[in-house]
């Protein structure tokens, strides 16, 4: 089962608490899986949020997009 939150020990082990650490780890992941490092970095940032906060962030962006398109 995929995790939906990052345990503190994982954050500490990979240095994910700050942006520099997240970026470094994201670049490692991106190289290994041939995915975009920026996308990975955003995921790591999202994982520091609660599930409802992740949803709020995403739906707010969608609503702003709809407003901008009008």
């Amino acid at each position: 089962m995929l995790p939906h939150t990052l345990p503190a020990k994982v954050v500490d082990r990979h240095g994910l608490a700050d942006r520099v650490g997240r970026r470094r780890f994201a670049e490692e992941v991106a190289r290994k899986y041939d995915v975009d490092a920026g996308d990975v970095e955003h995921v790591l940032s999202n994982l520091t949020l609660s599930p409802i906060e992740r949803l709020r962030r995403s739906m707010t962006r969608a609503r702003l997009g709809r407003i901008a398109a009008k």
Binding site: L2, V29, P51, L55, R56, R61, A62
Partner: protein
Amino acid sequence: MPDSDGLPLSEREIELLRELVKADVPFVLVGLGAAVIQGADTVTKDLDLWFSSIAHPGLDEAARKVGGVFVWRSNPPLFSGPGLDDIDVVVHCDGLQDFDTEYAAAIDIELVSGLVIKVLPIDRVLASKRSANRPKDRAVIPALEAAIAALKEASD
């Protein structure tokens, strides 16, 4: 329509989910909402709920308890009423196995305090998007792949 507390869903939508869970209506959150809740960095406009059966009496009961109705004759069926605009009903998911199989493998996630819902694992969301293969599905595949890679590595 979000409520004044800054939640992405209205109070009635949250209550609808609570009532569905309370009535033991089997459902799974699917689509990009499921992926976002698990960390994917993409945009979703609403939540897609996949039900085992739209004939379950709990759907209409839950809708009525929050001041709405469940319009099962609509295609697709939908919840209608004030503040119920951002929850959609899904009756078919491309690329997935039958409801019971996916339900059994779904992840329990606490959306808000005291409300735990079943969520389709993000790798299954990716499988569904690949199968649907519309332009909008193809567009989110890189973000889903990145999320799956990040989750896998971060959990190792």
